[in-house]
Structures are given as structure tokens and as C-alpha cells.
Symmetry: C2
Subunit: 234 residues, 2 copies
DNA sequence: TTGCTTATTGGTCGCACACTCAATAGCATC
DNA sequence: GATGCTATTGAGTGTGCGACCAATAAGCAA
């Protein structure tokens, strides 16, 4: 299935090539899993030879960690932008929950699950996971704190509140590979409900505000590959 | 480094041998991970040849699923015995939380994480995981319902309550491979606190009742972790 | 003791993996 | 157009995996 004969080798700058490799690996990580990031698989995707991947990443584990970091960072940026758009904090969080509990987040749930398990064997990846965890927690804490300062939320400890919300999200994400659709809506809403309770909001507040949005220039992200369908694992 | 020379082959009944294989696989699953269940690894552990494992489990995936099921069932049985001991429902649950949030449960947390991820690629395992999930949920629901009937707990929907508790436990277990020790006690207590809120109990009710126990022949869990005391950084 | 069933072995095959390194060729520079 | 740097290739190493199967021997029954 490679693109026929290898006609001409294309020579790129190390920076470009490296970025290209990481991007390809991140895509594979999201769609097929971190253990599918192999020299052969990534090389095939980029139509180069496996040796080239080795050249840029002498140890595959480093590429795996980099791929996870890249995918997670990108997701967080689209999920909870560093500079909160002018809308209310409530809308900001509502959009966060709409996304994290919807099917659009399934790949990311799977990736977190994947990374957390693989961390058991891969120290470099584990460090990345820890870094991303504190990044996500910090970002959510910031969003909560901003809402508190605006008078929209009410909580004693924004940090603990963020942790409580994330624990619920992680708990729900645990089932990404086993039973997505069979959850009753009361379960799917668990994360938002937790946030509402923690932040002193009325029930359903964080669920309804998703649609009346002034369109913050966030169309379908171009990085999301729906297809591929090929899944194998020996 | 096998136990010296293969002196004499020992012939066992198929049932015994099969049980022995599953038990060994379950041990490996708990201590090293499900992907370490290989023909060679299990054969080495039992001091037999790999071919023998293949003979009893022509497809390794079946052994992996069986090993997970075996380990999970055993754990559940010790965690929430089917026939609740004569003690109060509150004690029953308190012991459950003491165990699930303590380090004694780390291996099991890792195993669940492992199995849930691996379910992505292994259909047979996925079915087992789904089965165990409903088993655990059912058992916890039963414990909750028993407490409600005794007048010790108060909840509208025991099933939903059980799910909410399990989601928190799963969320906490997500971090089994990436720093469980650095959680502040408020986080470790999250599961019990959720149960207390759900069941209409006062704060700390499910944490204190662990020590004044009439000794129900429950070895192995004297580690009443009051808190790891480590600070956290956001 | 002898014979027979079958649990167990030993060996082999094909595959996928990470990693290494000398040889090659793209391309910017002169 | 020639030159030199180096990004890229091709070929090969060794390991571990699941799966397969004919040969072997353990231990029960006759």
C-alpha cells in the first residue's frame, strides 16, 4: 500500500522532518494507539525508510512520549484556550464539558488511558504524562479561578475543585474502550454535575449554555482523521 | 535459569493443569501486566514447555481474558464478599473504601487500567471486562441497597449511587502508574466522601469505622493509611 | 507386567520489532 | 556545472512473539 515505487528521495531540513515525524506519530497515537508508533508504521505513513525515523529518534520511546505530548497539548489548547475568549466563564466551562463528554473526545479518552497504562513500562512517557496532567489541572484551575473572580462561580479551593472534576472525567474516560453508548445520560452528565455542585451552580447550568454561542472561529479541526479503520494488534 | 535440568515430566489432569495455568497467568497479570502473559513467560513460571500452554489455550488472548477474570473475581470476593458478614453495612463499606484507596489496591488499579486499555485490541478481553464491570457494580449496588434497607444509608437510586462511586474510584485508579503518592489526603478520601454524600452520611463516617472491628478474619489490610502527608504543587 | 491413551515435549516456522551503519544522492553553494 | 555537506537509504543483526506438529513418555487399566 506504499505509494508504488520509491522514485525520488526528498530531502528536508532536520527541523521540518522532525516536526513532520512527531505530527505523524501523534496522529497514529490518537487513531490507533501509542503501541502502534513503530519505526515501520511511521515511516510508511511518511513514505520514507524506517532508518530515517531512527535517525531522528534513536530511541522510539522518545518519539512515543513526544507524540503523546503533542496530541495532548493540541487538545488542551482547543479545549481550554489559554486566553479565555470574551464570553462568560460559564460558557467557557460549558463548552469544555460539552466537548469532554461527547464522542468527539473519545479518541482523547482512549489516548489518556493508553498513556497512563503504558507509563508503567516507559519512564520517559510517564514524565510526559505527569507534565500534561499538571498542565491540564493548572488550566482548569485557572478557568475556575477566573470564574470565581468574576463572581460567576463560588468555591473555597479552586485547585481541589479542578482535581475533583478531573477525577470524574478520568473515571468516565476509563470506559472509552468498553461501553460508550450504554451509559445513561445521568452518568454522562456526571462531570458537569460535579462541577455545578462544586461551583455553586444550579443543576443543568453547565449543559444548556452550549448552543447560543457567538462562533469563536472554531470550525472542525483539520487534524481529526475520522477514517483509517485499519486496526490490528498481534 | 530454569530449575536445573528438566528431569522428569509431571503429568497432571487437564483440569488441574488448566487451573494452574490460569492461576499463574493471573499472578503475572497482577504483578507484571497483561502483556507479560506470553506462552514462554507462563511456561517458565510453571517449569513446563511453552507448547503446553498453547495446548490448553490455543489462542493466548483467551488465557489473557481468563487471567483477568480470575484476578478480578478473587479481588472482588475479598473486597465485597457476596454474603455480607454480620457487621453493619457501614462497616462493610468502610472496609471497602479503606482497601480500594490504600496501596494494597495499587496492583488491582493497575490491572483495571491495563485491561481497559488492552480491551481496545482484544475483543475477548473486552467482553470479560464488561462482565466484571457489571459484576462489581452489581455487588456494590447490593451493598448499598442492603444498607438502605437496614436504615443505615439513604439514597433514591442505589444503582446510580454505585455508578457514581465507581466512577470516582476509577478516576483515582487512573493514576496508579503515575504518582499515587503525591495526592493530598483530600483527594485520596474522594471516593469515600462521594459515598458519604450520596448515602446521606456525615463526613468521615466511612473512614473512621475501620479500626474498631470484631476481627472478621481479614488478614492483610492493617495498613490504615491516614494520609501520605506529601505536599502538592499545582 | 504389559499395553494404551494422551499429557507433554522439542523443534521449527514466519513474523514484527528496535537498532546499527556504510553507502548513496539531494541540494545549497560556489 | 562542479563540489561538499549531510539527509536518507538499504541491508543486516538479534530478539521475542504466537502458532504448529510429530515424537515421546507418564501413569492408569487390563
Amino acid at each position: 500500500m506504499t505509494s508504488s515505487v520509491q522514485r525520488k528521495r526528498i530531502r528536508k531540513s532536520p527541523d521540518d522532518r522532525r516536526a513532520e515525524i512527531v505530527e505523524a506519530a501523534a496522529t497514529v497515537a490518537l487513531t490507533e494507539g501509542l503501541e502502534c508508533i513503530t519505526l515501520r508504521r511511521i515511516a510508511e505513513q511518511l513514505d520514507v525508510r524506517p532508518g530515517l525515523i531512527s535517525h531522528y529518534f534513536p530511541a522510539v520511546e522518545d518519539l512515543v512520549a513526544e507524540a503523546f505530548g503533542s496530541a495532548a497539548t493540541a487538545e488542551l489548547e482547543s479545549l481550554l484556550p489559554a486566553d479565555p475568549p470574551d464570553g462568560s466563564s460559564l460558557n467557557h466551562l460549558a463548552r469544555f464539558f460539552a466537548r469532554t463528554t461527547g464522542p468527539a473526545y473519545d479518541d482523547m479518552s482512549r489516548l489518556w488511558l493508553n498513556a497512563r497504562h503504558l507509563s508503567r513500562y516507559r519512564p520517559v512517557l510517564r514524565e510526559r504524562v505527569l507534565g500534561q496532567e499538571s498542565l491540564w489541572r493548572g488550566r482548569l484551575t485557572g478557568a475556575v479561578r477566573a470564574g470565581v473572580e468574576r463572581g460567576e462561580f463560588r468555591t473555597e479551593d479552586p485547585d481541589l475543585t479542578a482535581i475533583r472534576i478531573l477525577v470524574v472525567i478520568d473515571g468516565l474516560a476509563s470506559h472509552a474502550n468498553t461501553g460508550l453508548g450504554n451509559h445513561p445520560s445521568a452518568v454522562i452528565r456526571l462531570a458537569a454535575a460535579t462541577a455545578e455542585r462544586e461551583l455553586g451552580l444550579a443543576d443543568g447550568t453547565l449543559a444548556l449554555a452550549t448552543e447560543p454561542e457567538p462562533a469563536t472561529a472554531e470550525p472542525g479541526s483539520p487534524t481529526t482523521e475520522p477514517g483509517s479503520g485499519t486496526e490490528e494488534q498481534s
